[in-house]
Structures are given as structure tokens and as C-alpha cells.
């Protein structure tokens, strides 16, 4: 509320004073909105969308943050820290140590033993969950843990031998309930249990291994079950990784508040446990930080792409106010003549604008709730698929709603106040006589000085950007320099040639700059594309606007020199360059972004074969299995249809990079899987590498070198990505040093990056030699991942499914690379579609803007229409002229946006900054639909005003005018 108070109420005080104490200004401000309700509605519609988009962006971020945060309740509950140990004995010692800490340090400890297992229903046609987790925990203690039994999710007695308590997610997957029988497979041993209890996904009962997705396929078993399975294990399974022994720790405070003390309590625990083979993980803190980071990233993403629409809304407001001023010029001049001061003029205009801003922001905020809900609805479907799922639940924080309203209001208010100041500069007599305002000597001089300053600033920005490798300045500096040059040189050079030359220069620069400075732009992020889009659009609109007469002549010749509707329809936009330029910019901005995303989406969609080739390294299937009961490799080799098998041991590593920002909650370490590979891994080429250390002539040499040298590593492009999304801030290069650590044993090793792979999956493990993994991770390093190539003529996905069925007990999870890549691309495509839908809101702004302009144009040109009708212009021709005008402006804007976007995408795809090796292609059908849809919607927006114009009776129009 403080935000609203400071940034809404305080700036509104002058307007409230005008309404309360200045009846003349109040009347001037309010009457037009009252007398022309339809126009007022159109203005509000065009203005509210900006606020709707801003509010919607915040809500999307809130939803994602809240959905991830929800895991704090559902998958951790009272658990704030997880102390992982090597064995139950060590865990017991840890628990004793923690309990011995001064009272009030922590408010709960709980020992738990866990192992990954495959769980299936008993009987024929079993349903299975290959990657469930078995937990052993004392239910009585668990129920008391943290002092809030309701938060633990644990009820009932500890399962006895032969019994199990099943978590809700696993129960749903297996479609089992109380009394049903389930089969657990771990360490090659099998056991059948009866479900005696169902537990919700909450707290301990929903315990997840960090934030790995919204689901927790948990099964709680009797103490001793896991040890018995291990004891019964066949010899081969003895090599499998041990179960995880951990002590859960709860901080004083509730589920969320307790995390605030994590740093302090973690430090206390580490001091108390110094020397013990245990590692303290700040699980709750990491989850909440991930929630915030992901939420903020989403808000930034949607805000950035929505920014174009917000900008279109600002241009619409400026256009409307300039039109209002022009229409009322005579009466405003008379008002000044009879005693209204300029401040009063500004006040009445700005108050009218304040009313629009207030109304639009209020309605826009409500609309934003709807926009956010719609986006969440679509995004929920996207996040519900794939290996890493998030259950999205709509959340709109009051603070975000207030923020959206406030920002939308302020943007509108600043726009109308500045425009009001500008349009109120009129000479009384010239206003009364409706004569144009010439530019005074003082204004010319001011513009020249201003231009010189802008030009110098632009040059300084460019040079500093190049030396400091700052992409924003390098991209934008020349645009400012060009603008300044135009303002200075227009006194001496022909305007059209000058503006055209500078515009072309800025256009070329904005497109090729990525190639001229590839290093500066190699980590291009969304805001850079936003800046590029704005610069390109502004330059293109300036170029087109200055050469409109040539375009108009060409169109008139093509349409027939005597076509009066075309002649009239083109005359007004060609003459009113400022107004036309505003509408062109609105359309071009939004169409540019829409087209750009459409083209990128199309390019990615067509890359499934290429991405599969890069990710698979020549193999067809990736098969993961339970590390506690891995799939027997020889059995897989003997399977019909299998050609080659390569083995990998994938373990959860912890990494510290000197180039990173040390954000990892544990001494700068961050978690990332590491895979140890063998000779067979690159026998078929290996995954594509994007960068090699210069010492290696080719990819095979790099793979061989890493296999031979246990101090080398190959990392993926998204290695250590921040917060679960997006490339790392400082992507690693060959030669970079890293430290990898086994959290349990504490063993670590410094590694050097030999190459960077472009495998394509964002969670691709770092690659080291198998012996490197064995040496660092010891018993954890089991062959739990196989890469399989199939014999000629074998369907890879069908084989993968057969393998899953055959090795169900081993928790086999096999998929063809093509299917996995296809699913990832499909998810990406869906996301692009979501962004396109979001951007389409901006088109509504543009179309509404055109509608408003045409409605006002009918009013403005009433007398002229009367004159034309008196001269012989038929009513149908008047209608066609308006349609022609609207079609011309809309089509020009759409073409500008479309052409620029394709040009930008073409250059980007071919540049080093892009990183992917793609062939450019234009999605003709999709773009055709976009152009046609926009064009038709624009004509539709003009239909009513055009019809109204055609119905104007000449005598009435002339009489009213006179």
C-alpha cells in the first residue's frame, strides 16, 4: 500500500486539486470523455493493455515462485537442513552431536535412510515406477519433528515388516491404496509388501531430493527393510551404491521462517560436526532461492517480451493526445485569449489524461489478473510434461498487483503530462486561426544544441561500450549519435536525404553489429534483443516516413492514377507524418517481435534431426537405471536389436568454479551431475563439441585425452546454469579450472576443461573418464547409465520400451534420443507459442490504436468530407478511402516489422553469437497467417468509422463546420 500511496496518490494530488477547486479546468478535462463515450472506451482499451501486460508478467512470476515454494511445504515441511552421511552409524553419531547443541539452536532432528528403487504393483500387468524412493524413518519421531505435526504429513504407526506406507504421488502412479500389494526391487532383491497407510505429499511424507520436480514417489518401509534387501543382493549388486543415511534438521520457526536462520545454523552444525564424514546441505534455503530466482526470471522474460506492447501503448497515448490537441486547437486558442494561462491549459489536458491513466490502470490491472491466469493455464500444460515437472498453481500476490497498477499508472501519467506540456505550446492567434506553428529560432537553436549533446553522448557510449565490452552501449550508441547528427545537420542538409542516410546507417549497424563484435555479443540475453528491436523499428519507420511520398506515388500508379478512393486514402497518412509514424511504430514493434519468435520457433522445430545427432553421439537410446540395482550390461548386450553398448556411471557431484560467483550454498559448491565414460562412448563419434582446447585437432582427440587423463573434463554449454534456467553467467571455456567434490566422502579433485559439448540438453552431466569417477566417488560410482546403438532396421523407441519392460526391477528408464530431443523441442515450441500469444496482446494495442485514430479522423475531417461529397465524392468512395488509409498504414507497419525480423533472425542465425549451426528458413505459412490476420483485424477496426464517414451528409457537415 505504501507503493500506491507514494507513487499514485502523491502524483495525483495536483489533479485532485484541479478537480476540486478549478471548475473550468475540470469541465474542460471531463467533458470530452463524457460526451464521446465510445471514443473514451477505445482510448481506455488501448491504454489498459500496457498495465495488463505488466501486471500479467508479475503474476506469472509470482505463480512460478509460489509453485516452487510450495515444495517447501510439500517436499520438506519442517526440514531446513539435510546432513548426509556415509552410514547409519555415522548418522546416529551426527544426531547425537546435533541434539547436544544448546537448547533452542534447532527444534528437531530425525534420522532417515533412503534408497532409489523400482516399485510395481503385484500380479499380472503390473504398473511400475522405476525411480521411486524407499525411506526408513520412525513415524512417531517424524510426527513430532519440528514441533508442528501438521506440517510433517506423517500419521499412523511406523510400518511393520511386510508393510508399507505409500505417498500420494506413487499411489496415484500405481493406482494402489490401502490393502493393495506392491513389489519393491533394489540391489537385485525383491520384496512384496502390503500398503497399510496412504500419506499426503506434505513435509516428511513428501520428502524430495532437493528441487527435482513437484512429485515425490515415496514409499515408507519398516526399519531394516533396506539392509535386508542389500544383504540378499546377488554378488553383482554388491557393487551398487549404498543407501543414503541422513539426519534431517529443523530450525526454530515455521516452514518458511525457519530458513532465514539457515546460514547461522549451518555454520553451527559444520563447526559441531567438523571432522565427521558428513555434509550439511541447506535444502530449504536452496529451494526458496531457486523459487525466487525462477520466479524473477519468468517475470523478467514476460516483462521483456511484453515491453514492446507497453511501448506501443505509450505511443498510442501520445498519438491520441496530439490528435486531441490538434482538434481543439481553435478552442484552446480562444481559451487562452479570454484569460486561461498556459499552466491551466496544461492542467486541463493533463487532468483529462490523468483520468484516462487512472481508469486504464485500474481496468488494466484487473485485465492483468486475467492475462496472468491465461498464461499460467497454458504454461501449466508445458510444465506438466517432461522429466522435470512443476505443478503450477495460480498465485497473484497483492504486492504484485499493486506494483502492476502503479507502474502502469505512472507510465500513462508521465506520457500524458509530457505530451500535454508539448502540445500546450501554442500561439494564441495561430491557434484561433488554426495556422501551423512555425519553428522559432530559439527552438531551432535548442534542437541543435540538444542534438549535439545527444551525438556526443552516442559517440561516447559507443566507444566506452567497445572498450568495456558492454553490448547495450555498442548497440545503442550509434543510434543516439545518428539522432543527434540529424538534429544538428538538418539546418544545412536536405532533410529527406539526411534522415534516410542516417536511418539506413543505423539499420545496417543494428543488424551486423553482432558479427562485427562477436565477443561482446556472445552471451546475448533478451534485453539486448529488445533494444535491437526498438532501434531497428525506429530507424525503419524514420526511413519509410521520410520517403512516404515516393511510396505513395508508386502505389497510386499501381492502383490506377484516377482511383479517387486510393488517392484520398493515401493522402492523409502521407501528409500527417508524425501521426502515421506513431501508428507504423506501434505495428512494427509488435510485429517485429512476433515474427522474430515465429521464425526462431520454426528454425528450432526443424532441427530435431540435427539436435538428435549432436546429443546422441551416434547412439540411439539412453537407458538409466537404479544405481542400487543397475541393469546388467551383458544382458542388455545380448538383447535382440542391440548393436553397441557404452557404459556410464552418473553420480551427483558438487562443483566449484573460480569464474563462478560462488552462489552455491555450500562453500561455493553447486550441485551438477558428473558422468564417467569409457572407450565405447565416443566409438561412434560422441556428442558434438562446440569448443576444443587448441591442443586437440578434433573431437575424437579431445575425448581420448579426457579418457586418458583423470584431471580433464568436458562440460556442457549449460553447465552450472543459474537457478535452473538459462546459461551460466560466465560460461566456461577450454582451459578453465574446476573443482569437483564427493559431498559424502569429501574427496575432491581439480579438473581442467578440455572441451565444451553442445549436447543440447540443459542438464547434460559433465564428462570425465570412468576411473576419475571411481576414484572420487568410490562405491557411489555404479554403471547406472547405458548408451545403446541399435542394429540396422530396429525401431529404437520400440526397443527402449522393451528394455524398460524387461528390466523393470532395475528401475530401467530408457528412451530413444529422438524421442527425448523431440519432447524437449516440443516443450520449447509450446513455450514459443505462449510467448507469441502474449505478444499478440500488443497487436491488440496497435489495432485499437488504429481504430481510435480513424474514429477521431472522421470527426476531424467532417467538414472536409462534406466538401468532398459536395464536389461529387460518392458515399461508397468515402468509405473505401478510409479503408484504403487504414489498410495502407497497417500493411506498411506489418511489412516493416516482418522484414526487419526476418533480416535480424537471418543475420543472427548465421553469426557466432548464436552458437547453433542452423540453416535459415522463413515460415511462410505462419507469417502469411500473421500478416493476413493483422491486416484483416485492422480493416475490421476501421469498418465502423469508415461507415460512419460515408454516412455524413454534406450540408450537415458544412453547416456544423461553419
Amino acid at each position: 500500500m505504501l507503493l500506491v500511496l507514494i507513487f499514485v496518490l502523491i502524483p495525483s494530488i495536483p489533479f485532485l486539486c484541479i478537480i476540486a477547486f478549478k471548475p473550468v479546468l475540470r469541465r474542460l478535462a471531463v467533458r470530452n470523455a463524457q460526451r464521446r463515450p465510445r471514443e473514451t472506451m477505445l482510448v481506455l482499451l488501448g491504454s489498459l493493455l500496457g498495465t495488463a501486460i505488466i501486471t500479467g508478467s508479475f503474476i506469472v512470476g509470482d505463480t512460478l515462485e509460489a509453485s516452487i515454494r510450495r515444495s517447501a511445504y510439500t517436499q520438506l515441511g519442517p526440514v531446513d537442513e539435510v546432513v548426509r552421511t556415509q552410514s547409519p552409524e555415522v548418522a546416529a553419531g551426527v544426531e547425537r552431536t546435533v541434539r547436544a547443541l544448546p537448547a533452542g539452536t534447532v527444534d528437531g532432528t530425525l534420522r532417515i535412510l533412503s534408497v532409489e528403487a523400482a516399485v510395481a504393483t503385484a500380479g499380472d500387468n503390473p504398473k511400475a515406477e522405476p525411480t521411486a524412493t524407499l525411506h526408513e524413518v520412525d513415524f512417531a519421531e517424524a510426527g513430532r519433528f519440528g514441533g508442528d505435526p501438521a506440517a510433517t504429513g506423517v500419521t499412523g504407526a511406523t510400518p511393520a515388516a511386510g508393510e508399507a506406507a505409500i505417498g500420494a504421488d506413487l499411489a496415484r502412479t500405481l493406482a494402489v491404496g490401502r490393502g493393495d500389494r506392491v513389489v519393491i526391487n533394489a540391489y537385485g532383491s525383491r520384496s512384496e509388501l502390503t500398503v497399510v497407510n496412504e500419506l499426503p505429499r506434505l513435509g516428511i511424507a513428501g520428502l524430495g531430493a532437493g528441487f527435482q520436480g513437484s512429485e515425490s514417489p515415496n514409499l515408507f518401509v519398516a526399519p531394516g527393510t533396506i539392509d535386508r534387501l542389500r544383504a540378499e543382493a546377488p554378488q553383482a549388486a554388491a557393487a551398487a551404491s549404498p543407501p543414503t543415511s541422513a539426519v534431517l534438521v529443523s530450525n526454530p520457526g515455521n516452514v518458511i521462517d525457519g530458513a532465514a536462520r539457515t546460514d547461522e545454523i549451518k555454520a553451527t552444525l559444520e563447526r559441531a560436526l567438523a571432522g565427521a564424514p558428513a555434509t550439511v546441505g541447506p535444502a530449504k534455503q536452496d529451494l526458496l532461492e531457486a523459487a525466487k530466482t525462477n520466479g524473477d526470471q519468468f517475470t523478467e522474460l514476460f516483462s521483456s517480451i511484453g515491453f514492446f506492447s507497453v511501448l506501443a501503448g505509450i505511443l498510442l497515448l501520445v498519438n491520441i493526445f496530439v490528435m486531441l490537441a490538434q482538434e481543439r486547437k481553435t478552442e484552446l486558442g480562444m481559451m487562452r485569449a479570454v484569460g486561461l494561462k498556459r499552466a491551466g491549459l496544461v492542467g486541463s489536458f493533463a487532468t483529462e489524461g490523468w483520468l484516462y491513466a487512472l481508469g486504464a490502470s485500474a481496468v488494466g490491472t484487473i485485465a492483468g489478473l486475467g492475462v496472468g491466469r491465461l498464461v499460467v493455464l497454458v504454461a501449466a500444460g508445458i510444465f506438466a510434461t517432461g522429466d522435470f515437472t512443476i505443478e503450477l498453481r495460480y498465485q497473484a500476490d497483492p504486492a504484485s498487483v499493486q506494483q502492476g497498477f502503479t507502474i502502469g499508472f505512472l507510465i500513462s501519467l508521465v506520457t500524458v503530462v509530457v505530451t500535454s506540456l508539448w502540445v500546450s505550446r501554442l500561439n494564441v492567434i495561430r491557434a484561433i486561426r488554426d495556422l501551423p506553428e512555425p519553428e522559432s529560432h530559439r527552438q531551432r537553436l535548442a534542437a541543435t544544441v540538444f542534438g549535439a549533446l545527444i551525438a556526443l553522448m552516442g559517440i561516447a557510449l559507443t566507444l566506452s561500450g567497445i572498450s568495456g565490452e558492454e553490448p547495450f552501449s555498442v548497440l545503442g550508441g550509434p543510434a543516439f549519435a545518428g539522432l543527434g547528427a540529424v538534429l544538428v545537420l538538418r539546418r544545412w542538409l536536405p532533410r529527406r536525404a539526411l534522415v534516410s542516410l542516417v536511418s539506413v546507417g543505423v539499420l545496417v549497424w543494428a543488424v551486423v553489429v553482432f558479427e562485427v563484435f562477436p565477443k561482446i555479443f556472445e552471451n546475448t540475453d533478451i534485453p539486448i534483443f529488445v533494444e535491437q528491436g526498438i532501434i531497428l523499428t525506429a530507424a525503419a519507420v524514420a526511413l519509410v516516413t521520410q520517403n512516404q511520398s515516393a511510396i505513395g506515388s508508386l502505389l497510386r500508379r499501381l492502383g490506377g492514377g484516377s482511383n479517387m478512393s486510393l488517392r484520398l486514402g493515401l493522402a492523409y497518412p502521407l501528409a500527417r507524418r508524425f501521426r502515421t509514424g506513431m501508428i507504423l511504430t506501434m505495428y512494427a514493434l509488435v510485429v517485429f517481435t512476433l515474427t522474430f519468435i515465429t521464425v526462431l520457433s520454426h528454425l528450432f522445430e526443424g532441427q530435431i534431426e540435427e539436435f538428435t545427432r549432436k546429443a546422441s553421439g551416434g547412439f540411439d537410446i539412453r537407458m538409466a537405471s537404479n544405481p542400487a540395482n543397475p541393469v546388467p550390461v551383458e544382458e542388455v548386450r545380448k538383447t535382440d536389436g542391440v548393436d553397441t553398448v557404452a557404459e556410464q556411471a552418473v553420480v551427483p557431484g558438487e562443483w566449484r568454479s573460480p569464474a563462478g560467483d560462488g552462489e552455491g550454498g555450500d562453500g561455493g559448491y553447486e550441485g551438477w551431475p558428473v558422468a564417467g565414460y569409457d572407450q565405447a562412448f565416443f566409438s561412434r563419434g560422441g556428442p558434438a563439441l562446440s569448443e576444443l582446447d587448441p591442443a586437440y585437432p578434433d573431437e575424437q582427440a579431445a575425448y581420448r585425452a579426457v579418457l586418458a587423463d583423470p584431471s580433464l573434463v568436458i562440460v556442457g554449454e549449460f553447465f552450472l546454469q543459474e537457478g535452473g534456467g538459462g546459461p551460466p553467467e560466465e560460461p566456461l571455456k577450454p582451459g578453465a579450472k574446476l573443482t569437483v567434490r564427493d559431498a559424502l566422502s569429501g574427496r575432491s579433485r581439480e579438473l581442467t576443461v578440455a572441451a565444451v559439448s553442445e549436447g543440447g540438453f540443459t542438464n547434460e552431466p559433465a564428462l570425465v573418464a570412468r576411473r576419475t569417477v571411481d576414484e572420487i566417488f568410490g562405491p557411489l560410482a555404479t554403471t547406472n547409465t547405458l548408451l545403446v546403438s541399435v542394429a540396422p532396421g530396429t525401431d529404437a523407441q520400440a526397443l527402449a520400451e522393451r528394455l524398460n519392460g524387461r528390466f523393470l526391477a532395475n528401475g530401467a528408464d530408457a528412451d530413444s534420443f529422438r524421442k527425448t530431443v523431440g519432447e524437449n523441442l516440443a516443450q520449447q515450441t509450446q513455450f514459443f507459442r505462449l510467448m507469441q500469444g502474449y505478444l499478440a496482446l500488443g497487436l491488440v494495442v496497435g489495432i485499437a490504436g488504429l481504430g481510435v485514430v480513424m474514429v477521431r479522423a472522421v470527426r476531424e475531417r467532417r467538414r472536409q468530407i462534406g466538401v468532398l461529397r459536395s464536389l461529387g465524392f460518392e458515399s461508397g468512395a468515402v468509405r473505401k478511402a478510409f479503408i484504403a488509409e487504414s489498410a495502407f498504414v497497417a500493411l506498411e507497419g506489418v511489412v516493416i516489422g516482418c522484414v526487419l525480423a526476418n533480416l535480424t533472425a537471418w543475420r543472427l542465425v548465421g553469426s557466432e553469437a548464436f552458437g547453433e549451426d542452423m540453416a535459415f528458413g522463413v515460415p511462410w505459412v505462419q507469417l502469411g497467417l500473421l500478416v493476413l490476420g493483422t491486416f484483416l483485424a485492422s480493416l475490421l477496426a476501421t469498418a465502423a468509422p469508415a461507415q460512419q464517414a460515408s454516412k455524413i451528409k454534406p450540408a450537415v457537415a458544412l453547416r456544423l463546420a461553419d
Partner: protein, 241 residues
């Protein structure tokens, strides 16, 4: 021969009288109230006449001009121009008729601001179906005749009041209409410019142009060949001078 065909040959419309208005009545209704702007007006105008229509403000002069020219509808009576009843025509035919047979000069000039002088003048010619080249040539010639041959490509905002009115006159004349309707053509002009415009109009009338002129100016009224006075919607006097 239909009026449409005859409009291609305007000379066929030169019947006598050129304009014949009988019992013309016009009432304006606003909500519950109504105002009878014209009451049973009879008027005939022969080809080549210069008729000044005069009367106090609100007498119905402009309404009379609008109704006789077909810009506005009438509630009763007939108006024949060239022997054809213009109020029985469809809106489209009436519009075409205006384009080919009439010219208009307004007090407020009423030039199209986005067109240059020559584009404004050629407009009625293009509307009448003349080819673009012919229309442009005729427009140039007419503008030169009114003394604006050096201002062809200037927009109205770049012209003085007198120049704008001369463009309006040129626009009215370019298509060689049968009738020119002028509503206070000198109302917005200084004395010298007004005199120059009126000299031009008289000159054109001497060449055979039929001109109906609404004016407050007694001098202009006195110089016309015929003076019609309108008061409270009725013609109260009709004198040839």
C-alpha cells in the same frame, strides 16, 4: 436521353430556366422542437444570371443554397436543374450530377488540407471521370487564369486567405459547370482581396457562368444582375437590377 448521358454533355442541360425551384420547404427538427427554415420558396434562374441572395442572419440563405444545390434534402417542393428533378435522384446520381454540373465556393474556403492547390482544383474533374492527365492540365490552366500559376504545388496552409479563396474559385470553375454556388465567398477576406475575387467572379459571369451568390455585403448585392432577399425562410423580394 438519361440525365447521366446528358451529364457527359453539360450543354444539353442548358434548358431555360436552368434552375426551377417550386414550393421548396425545409424544416429542421431537434428533439421535440422544429424550425421551418424554408417556406414554400419559388425561384427560377436563367443561364448566365448572377443572382445575389441576401437577408439577415438566420433568414435561410445558406439553407436555400444547400437545398437548391442538392447538398441538403427538402421536405416539400421540387427543384429542377436542367429539367431534371434533383431530389428525385438517388444519392449516387445526385452526387455525380454535382460533380459534373456544379461548382461550390465556400466562405471558409474548405480546401482539402492534405492536397496541393492543383490537386484540390483537379478533384472535381477526377470525380467527374476525366482522365488524370486531362484533369491536371485543366486544373493548371484554371489556376493560371485566377493568377496562381506559380503556386500549384503549395498546400492550403502555405497560401494566404486570398490565395486560398482563389483556389476555391478555380476548383469551382475547372470543370466548366453549369452553375456555381458561392456562400459568402468574400466573408473571410480583406477589402482589397474581396474586390479582386468579386471582379474575377463577375468576369466569369460575363463569360456566361451562372452564379448564385449568398452575401451580406450590400455592395456585392448591388452589383449583381438580380437581387433576391430572403427573410424568415421566405423570398420577400426578387429584383432585377
Amino acid at each position: 436521353m438519361s440525365v447521366d448521358t446528358r451529364l457527359d454533355h453539360p450543354e444539353t442541360l442548358r434548358v431555360e430556366p436552368l434552375l426551377q425551384a417550386t414550393g421548396v420547404t425545409k424544416t429542421y427538427r431537434t428533439g421535440a422542437s422544429s424550425v421551418q427554415a424554408l417556406r414554400q420558396v419559388d425561384l427560377s434562374v436563367a443561364a448566365g444570371e448572377l443572382v445575389a441572395v441576401m437577408g439577415p442572419s438566420g433568414s435561410g440563405k445558406t439553407t436555400l443554397l444547400n437545398c437548391l444545390s442538392g447538398l441538403d434534402d427538402i421536405d416539400a417542393g421540387t427543384v429542377l436543374i436542367g429539367g431534371e428533378s434533383i431530389h428525385q435522384m438517388s444519392d449516387a446520381r445526385r452526387t455525380r450530377h454535382r460533380a459534373r454540373a456544379m461548382g461550390f465556393v465556400f466562405q471558409a474556403f474548405n480546401l482539402i488540407p492534405v492536397f496541393s492547390a492543383v490537386e484540390n482544383v483537379e478533384l472535381p474533374l477526377l470525380l467527374a471521370g476525366r482522365p488524370a492527365k486531362t484533369a491536371r492540365a485543366a486544373a493548371r490552366e484554371t489556376l493560371e487564369r485566377v493568377g496562381l500559376g506559380h503556386r500549384l504545388d503549395h498546400r492550403p496552409a502555405e497560401l494566404s486567405g486570398g490565395e486560398q479563396q482563389r483556389v476555391t474559385v478555380a476548383r469551382a470553375l475547372a470543370g466548366r459547370p453549369l452553375l456555381v454556388w458561392a456562400d459568402e465567398p468574400t466573408g473571410n477576406l480583406d477589402t482589397e482581396t474581396a474586390a479582386a475575387v468579386m471582379d474575377l467572379l463577375r468576369e466569369l459571369n460575363d463569360d456566361g457562368l451562372t452564379l448564385l451568390l449568398v452575401t451580406h455585403d450590400d455592395e456585392i448585392g448591388a452589383s449583381a444582375g438580380r437581387r433576391v432577399v430572403v427573410r424568415d425562410g421566405e423570398v420577400v423580394s426578387d429584383e432585377r437590377q
